[in-house]
């Protein structure tokens, strides 16, 4: 019977219970949606790494041989070792001379190519090549086709034996592209015997190990007598680490978003259950008087919360996996190359659902226990009217001049604090998410302006091939009045003899200081590099604890010598992290300035035909590529805006609904007195609007915090300062206000339908 009562009660308070259902469902929808991607991606990667025996460490150097590999293998915690030669080559011209990373090996034990199609990689097969499947798909290449590459001055034509993937290229983007285009980036595995004997050397030892490979550096250094350039772990492999960062970000999102919705659901449950048990006070008294145990009555009221939230969680989990999660996986698996990536789920969804149900049940318990403590005889009588007393707002100097609506609404807020808190918190959360969503758009535009107008103060970018000589570069720089840039991978540290833990991998950018390729300070103002000093990016400076005026130690990936430079200022760049220095200073250290890029204010399209030029990009090309790379960000933005809207609507409607139900008798009285429906609606709307305004005001300063956290969660290789434009604040606030007003209109019909007689009699 109590079940029937519960169902009927739910029907009569449908709006509130539906809100709780929606909030619980959305919480789990968000969670499982993000987690479907994170878990699915995580599992697929784990399997991928296992099948390929993916390396944990990379030792870069020159002239590695079997003996050195054996010496590394002899280190206690090292498991498997692989010698290989990694060379950046080019695909044939008919494949747009795409960047092609070639791996030459004579064995296969670590980072073994995962075959998507064709036969397993055979390092003894001198006639075959194993090609990145995404690149092959982009060019319509398949197993059995002939493929030509140009590596180390050799034209190598081989038959494609297999289409492959490796975890090192989960993310792949050509250095000439701003965004992934599989036409321009590929990798190939071949037998080392494909190369002429004089070129058969190994420049990498990759290995698997127990624990952190960087902790083995001392052992490795002594095993190799210090004859290596650089030791890297997985975090330094951009093709691998980028997805790790992205999945970590989504993992964080899944908890943050679901927590927001659960918090609001709790507020709704508390307000709804408190109101319901207060409303059913005499029924509770009757059941008690009839001899029903308090525990049974309590179970009855808790079951409202349990059933609704459990149903909501169930629907959320199912929808999360099969709608949002699947959509995320589809988009991400298209962008990243991880075989077998599908939506995943685990027991955490069930555990989190149970936690949500339990927390909500606890909220219901706390809401009901006060009434159940009352003696049955007392509960049988209607509750004494809520004691009113002058509210805090009456101390306002202009209280006396306020209209009836204002006084009435302010007193109501003072009397129903929890409902007011729910309204304020809900709109505040909605405002924050809305600011995060639209603010992410602003940030993209802001960074775009900063990047393309301030930092890149040029109109054309000419990328040189590896074979480009400095003279060729200087010649073209003169022709186009441009600035030459070179870049290199480096390690930096705050001390001269750092341990592995104190080293940070980043980039060295060398400019000619002509003001075309600029550097920004921490306030994002373009700042000239002072000769004799370098600029160090903010994130890296913080990481190793350096400031302006300190000395930074750095070494190139191809050297073993540590250099030192004074930090002229701390800089910021959206995507290039590390040190920027002037060419003269670089050359004064004894290094040869070997430009890889020319930037110019002139149109450099005619340079495209030069043999030492690999690509020419105009600023509009670069902007278009940047926009394309923001597609995933766009998805997150739409997602956040959608959920912000949903949250704001649910919360404000629920707040209005509770307000309506609690004051229905008063509204009926006002109607009897002659108040028109519009005037009564105004009472609800004005109060909702006030709560929204407070929520908006609190939400405004808080909105930037999670937005910056979201931007920072992209890892150390990206530095995007968040920016929310005044227009965004206005749009978000206007939206919240508009919903608030619209919600008021949603009550118009109910106000019109108030049965004055029934309500006034029924509430006795």
């Amino acid at each position: 019977m109590l079940m029937r009562k519960m169902l009927r009660d739910m029907r009569s308070s449908f709006a509130q219970f539906f809100s709780i259902f929606i909030l619980a469902a959305v919480a789990m929808w968000c969670y499982t949606g993000f987690q479907a991607n994170v878990i699915g991606g995580g599992r697929a990667r784990e399997e991928f790494e296992k099948k390929t025996n993916f390396s944990d460490g990379w030792i870069y150097g020159a002239a590695f041989d079997e003996d050195r590999a054996e010496a590394v293998k002899a280190i206690d915690d090292v498991n498997d070792v692989q010698l290989r030669s990694e060379v950046l080559g080019k695909a044939d011209e008919k494949y747009n001379t795409a960047e092609l990373y070639c791996y030459f090996q004579d064995t296969k034990s670590v980072t073994v190519p995962f075959v998507i199609k064709g036969v397993e990689f055979d390092p003894g097969d001198e006639d075959g090549v194993w090609l990145f499947y995404r690149f092959a798909d982009a060019w319509g290449l398949s197993v059995g086709d002939s493929f030509t590459s140009h590596v180390l001055g050799q034209d190598i034509t081989k038959t494609i034996r297999g289409l492959i993937a490796t975890p090192e290229y989960e993310f792949a983007c050509a250095s000439t592209d701003a965004d992934t285009d599989f036409h321009n980036i590929g990798f190939a595995y071949m037998s080392v015997n494909v190369l002429p004997e004089e070129l058969r050397g190994f420049n990498e030892i990759i290995f698997t190990c127990k624990g952190d490979p960087l902790k083995l550096e001392d052992d490795i250094s002594s095993a190799l007598d210090g004859n290596y350039a650089f030791l890297a772990d997985r975090k330094s492999i951009d093709g691998y680490n980028r997805l790790t960062d992205e999945l970590n970000q989504h993992d964080g999102f899944s908890y943050v978003f679901s927590a927001i919705f659960v918090a609001i659901a709790l507020l709704v449950i508390i307000t709804t259950m408190k109101r319901m048990v207060a409303h059913q006070r005499t029924q509770i008294g009757t059941l008690n008087a009839l001899g029903m145990k308090k525990r049974k009555i309590m179970t009855h009221y808790i079951s409202f919360s349990v059933i609704i939230t459990a149903l909501g969680c169930l629907v959320g989990v199912i929808l999360g996996i099969f709608t949002f999660g699947k959509m995320m996986v589809d988009i991400f698996s298209d962008f990243y190359s991880v075989p077998g990536w599908g939506p995943g789920y685990d027991a955490k969804s069930v555990i989190l659902s149970l936690i949500i149900v339990l927390i909500c049940a606890l909220a219901a318990f706390l809401s009901c226990k006060t009434i159940l403590k009352i003696h049955p005889s007392e509960a049988l009588r209607p509750a004494a009217a809520k004691t009113s007393k002058p509210c805090i707002f009456e101390k306002l100097p202009f209280w006396g001049r306020l209209s009836f609506t204002a006084k009435y609404d302010l007193r109501d807020i003072a009397r129903s604090k929890l409902r007011a808190v729910m309204g304020i918190c809900g709109t505040m959360m909605g405002m924050i998410i809305m600011l995060m969503g639209i603010g992410a758009y602003d940030t993209v535009e802001y960074v775009k302006d900063w990047y393309f107008k301030d930092i890149q103060n040029y109109d054309s970018q000419v990328l040189f091939t590896d074979s480009c000589t400095p003279d060729q570069a200087f010649g073209i720089a003169d022709k186009y009045s441009g600035e030459l840039i070179s870049a290199d991978l480096i390690s930096i540290a705050a001390e001269e003899h750092p341990t592995s833990d104190d080293i940070v991998s980043c980039k060295l950018t060398v400019t000619e200081g002509k003001g075309l390729f600029c550097v920004s300070d921490t306030d994002l103002n373009v700042t000239d590099l002072e000769p004799g000093t370098v600029a160090l990016t903010m994130k890296q400076a913080r990481k190793i604890g350096l400031e302006k005026g300190d000395t930074v130690y750095w070494k190139r990936s191809s050297d073993n010598t540590w250099n030192k430079s004074r930090i002229g200022f701390i800089s910021r760049h959206p995507s290039i992290m590390g040190i920027t220095m002037l060419r003269a200073d670089y050359e004064s250290l004894g290094f040869e300035f070997k430009p890889q890029m020319l930037v110019s204010k002139q149109n450099c399209d005619s340079a495209e035909d030069l043999e030492f030029v690999s690509a020419v990009h105009s600023m509009s090309d670069l902007r278009a590529a940047f926009d394309k790379s923001m597609e995933i960000m766009d998805l997150l933005v739409y997602f956040m805006i959608f959920f912000a809207c949903l949250l704001i609507i649910v919360v404000l409607y629920n707040s209005g609904n509770l307000s309506f139900n609690e004051r229905e008798k008063e509204f009926a009285t006002l109607k009897v007195l002659g108040f028109k429906s519009g005037a009564i609606r105004k009472l609800i709307s004005v109060q909702n609007l006030w709560l929204s305004i407070i929520g908006v005001i609190i939400g405004i300063p808080l909105g930037q915090v999670p937005l910056q956290a979201m931007m920072d969660s992209n890892g150390d290789q990206i530095d995007w300062p968040c920016y929310v434009s005044p227009l965004t604040y206005f749009i978000a606030a206007a939206f919240v206000m508009a919903v608030s007003v619209i919600v008021g209109f949603m009550f118009q019909k109910r106000i019109k339908r108030i049965n004055m007689i029934e309500v006034l009699k029924g509430m006795e």
Partner: protein, 235 residues
């Protein structure tokens, strides 16, 4: 000769449909003159409150017509009914129905938001003897005091007709008498039409006219040429 102010013409009010159909008011007709103190008497379920609700513009007849000052109330739409309730009717409820979040003064003064030419709230509270309680909230007042605020609120609208649904029903006898006395004075001294619904036959002795209802029908309509003063009746 007094002018007819209220006219019920063959009014029927049916609630529900089919098997659940209940006839609350069954072909009721009567008239009330301006300034009369009328009591609609009857037991619980007699249909007296339904009559009052239709007269107050809170309910509409299923059949028949209700006229007030020649205007057909039963044909008014929602908006017209709001204006009618605001301008013509002052309602006093059994359970006072004051707004708990407003003080006594504000409960009376809120009428200003409905009717621009409403009477001064301070004066009305003085009239019901509650000037010193004006800043108290309903929950800080006794039932009698709350009912007097309710009367002050009804009076503030300067209504043509004052309707009371068991206005003394929730009060003790002494407080009930004070309230009743006040209502009688409104009719005898101020010339307001006062219509009360009650099941208390003693109250009927104070009225000019007593409409006795039973099972939704009018059992009798009696005119009382010499109504007793409230203090003369036995409670």
């Amino acid at each position: 000769m007094s002018k007819t102010q209220v006219e019920f013409k063959d009014v029927v009010r049916v609630f529900g449909k089919g098997d659940g159909k209940q006839v609350a008011v069954d072909h009721v007709s009567f008239t009330i003159d301006e300034g009369e103190f009328v009591v609609i008497l009857g037991r619980s379920g007699a249909g007296k409150s339904t009559v009052l609700n239709m007269l107050g513009g809170m309910d509409t007849p299923t059949e028949g017509k209700v006229f007030v000052d020649g205007q057909e109330v039963s044909a008014m739409n929602d908006n017209q009914l709001s204006v009618y309730r605001a301008d013509t009717i002052g309602f006093i409820f059994q359970f006072y129905n004051l707004i708990p979040g407003l003080t006594a003064f504000e409960n009376v003064a809120l009428v200003k938001d409905i009717k621009k030419d409403s009477l001064d709230a301070d004066e009305m509270l003085e009239r019901v003897g509650l000037s010193d309680q004006k800043n108290k909230f309903p929950s800080q007042m006794s039932g009698g005091q709350q009912q007097r605020v309710s009367i002050a609120r009804a009076l503030a609208k300067n209504p043509k007709i004052i309707l009371g649904d068991e206005p003394t029903g929730a009060l003790d006898s002494e407080t009930g008498l004070i309230v009743l006395e006040m209502l009688q004075k409104l009719s005898t001294e101020d010339g307001n039409t006062v219509i009360l619904v009650t099941h208390n036959a003693d109250i009927a002795k104070c009225a000019n006219k007593v409409i006795h209802m039973r099972n939704g029908k009018i059992k009798s309509i009696k005119t009382n040429d010499a109504p007793l003063s409230v203090r003369e009746i036995e409670w």
